[in-house]
């Protein structure tokens, strides 16, 4: 019998070793293994941080935007709305939502000036109020949903589940029936819930609704009446959801029984462009660079053509939690407790056939005053790179 301290140490190391072995043997970086596609990157300096605002706490999400303001709601401080001027990230206002003894289970707040909506698909209810007095009044009940997105002052696109399949619905205030569009979402592999999971995005400016699948390389573009315009594909190769779904019999519930391969994390649409934060590494990307940023692929929503990609950098070593393109060339990114305003260089707005010198001259005139110097430097440094651009982008 050896000294107990030595035996303890050996036992301790043995325990650590087992877990270490598990960790080493575990399937690695599934999102790095499907790099059968390439990205066309915007030139260096395409995205530039302008301002940072410390929000002071975690849990914020984008509730809505208008031309000059962004509204953030908070998952832990429910009922508070933080309004921020997107032109300087400085004028901030707290609003407290008034709602009489509201009981909720899965409350989501969306702001669509001049109205805001409190939506809970489990209770279920939708409350509406206006953004001058922030008083929420009962609006719609009896419609269950997973997620809801206001399309106008009185209509919503919903994702609901009907006989074990997710579907997109349209709900209009004052109409007795919801309109169902069961042909929009397509189930895969005998599962209609997880394989069809994704997020709805709406672009006020071009009145287009986009549904982006999480687990496959597809998005669906419709008009406000949910009439299909086309089905687009993202540039990666995952056309079939790589998920494994099992039933827990004792709880009569369905759940995923293996880590799923997520294709599309989150997106934002603005003015006919879809900005998609993909989860998959491309063949022409450096994996370290990819891990230390959030890659965004831009698509032209007219026909769903891929345009270009860029990275939203880390902020204080953290990746973005959410992002939103709020006006031409302005991208807001939410990190742990910071909001960062980025400027996107206008050079890639429209594919052009002009000579490169003319393009540079034109771009210089586009530039916002305070960034003149920086962009001038960037462009001269990268003029050879920018030259490639007209070939990359498709007619828009």
């Amino acid at each position: 019998m050896k000294r107990p301290s030595i035996l303890l140490l050996i036992t301790f190391l043995f325990g650590i070793f087992i877990v270490l072995a598990l960790h080493i043997a575990a399937p690695k970086k599934e999102n790095h293994k499907h790099a059968g596609f390439e990205r066309e990157f915007a030139p260096e300096g395409f995205i530039q941080a302008i301002d940072t605002l410390d929000l002071g706490r975690h849990g914020y999400y984008f509730a809505g935007v208008d031309s000059t303001r962004v509204f953030l709601a908070n998952r832990s401080a429910v009922g508070y709305i933080l309004e921020i001027n997107t032109e300087n990230l400085q004028d901030t206002t707290y609003h407290i939502i008034q709602a009489n003894s509201l009981k909720y289970k899965a409350l989501d707040i969306k702001v669509n000036p001049p109205y805001f909506f409190l939506m809970d698909g489990i209770m279920p209810f939708i409350y509406r109020g206006n953004t001058t007095d922030w008083e929420a009044k009962f609006y719609i009940n009896n419609v269950y949903f997973n997620s809801a997105l206001p399309l106008s002052d009185s209509s919503f696109a919903l994702i609901g589940i009907n006989s074990l399949k997710s579907d997109i619905y349209k709900l209009t205030h004052g109409q007795n029936q919801i309109e169902k569009f069961p042909e929009l979402l397509e189930a895969q592999g005998g599962d209609g819930i997880f394989s069809t999971d994704g997020t709805l995005y709406y672009d006020q400016k071009t009145q287009q609704l986009v549904f982006l699948y999480y687990y496959r390389n597809q998005f669906i573009c419709t008009d406000t009446n949910l009439q299909l315009k086309y089905r687009g594909t993202t540039i990666d190769t995952i056309s079939r959801a790589k998920i494994k779904v099992d039933k827990i019999s004792s709880e009569n519930s369905l759940t995923m029984s293996a880590p799923a391969l997520k294709v599309n994390n989150r997106a934002s649409i603005y003015n006919n462009l879809l900005f998609n934060n993909s989860n998959l590494l491309a063949a022409n990307e450096d994996s370290d660079r990819f891990e230390k940023a959030s890659v965004i692929d831009a698509y032209d929503l007219s026909e769903g053509d891929y345009r270009y990609s860029f990275y939203i950098p880390l902020h204080e070593e953290k990746k973005i939690k959410a992002f939103k393109v709020v006006e031409d060339h302005i991208l807001l990114a939410l990190y742990d407790h910071d909001l960062v305003r980025y400027h996107l260089h206008p050079s890639l707005d429209k594919p052009s056939t002009k000579k490169i010198d003319d393009q540079i001259a034109e771009r210089l005139t586009y530039m916002p005053e305070h960034n003149n110097k920086f962009f001038y430097k960037t462009i001269t440094n990268n003029s050879s790179k920018t030259q490639k651009y007209p070939d990359v982008s498709h007619g828009g």
């Binding site: 019998m1 050896k2 000294r3 107990p4 301290s5 035996l7 303890l8 036992t11 301790f12 043995f14 325990g15 650590i16 087992i18 877990v19 270490l20 598990l22 960790h23 043997a25 575990a26 399937p27 494994k244 099992d246 827990i248 019999s249 004792s250 709880e251 759940t255 995923m256 029984s257 293996a258 880590p259």
Partner: protein
């Protein structure tokens, strides 16, 4: 007043018998409870640990192996002659659980949980503290249970083992 660092070991040594009984009892309670809550719904447990990136490939095996190990260790702890082996097993298992928690918290993008029963309600930090307390308990039990003459190697007659209690 004695400093706590020397007071605490002295307390443990003075009440050695009862301290060991309490430690073993706590471990038996923990392991039997955890094992039974896993085994009563192995299918659910299998699905849940399948969600873990570290265990997804061996979920079927682990779902049976872990509760069986827990019961075996509980049995070893229940028998005074095999208690020391039981405590080493408990120590190893708790180290593994804790290392697993740390690994999953620091290397995994999404974090599933599949502890049995009420332990499911613990947050990850509470879970970590809980585990570390149990690791410490196992270590204390081992140190107390090892006969004093074996505590120093230079005094130990080699090849002799005894677990008189």
């Amino acid at each position: 007043m004695k400093p706590i660092l020397t007071a605490l070991p002295n307390f443990f040594r003075r009440h050695k018998g009862i301290v060991i009984e309490v430690i073993c009892f706590l471990f038996i309670l923990l392991f039997v409870y955890a094992a039974v809550s896993k085994l009563t719904d192995v299918q659910k447990f299998t699905v849940q640990i399948g969600q873990s990136p570290l265990l997804t490939n061996i979920a079927g095996f682990t779902a049976w192996f872990i509760p069986i190990m827990e019961i075996l260790i509980a049995l070893l702890l229940a028998w005074p002659r095999s208690r020391l082996y039981g405590l080493y097993g408990a120590f190893a298992l708790m180290v593994m659980f804790t290392a697993y928690i740390i690994a999953i918290l620091s290397f995994s993008e999404h974090i599933p949980c599949s502890c049995g029963g009420v332990l499911e309600k613990l947050g990850w930090t509470e879970h970590l503290v809980f585990n570390i307390v149990f690791i410490a308990l196992a270590a204390i039990g081992i140190l107390l249970l090892t006969p004093p003459r074996y505590q120093r190697e230079d005094l130990t007659p080699l090849g002799e083992q005894g677990f008189t209690h």
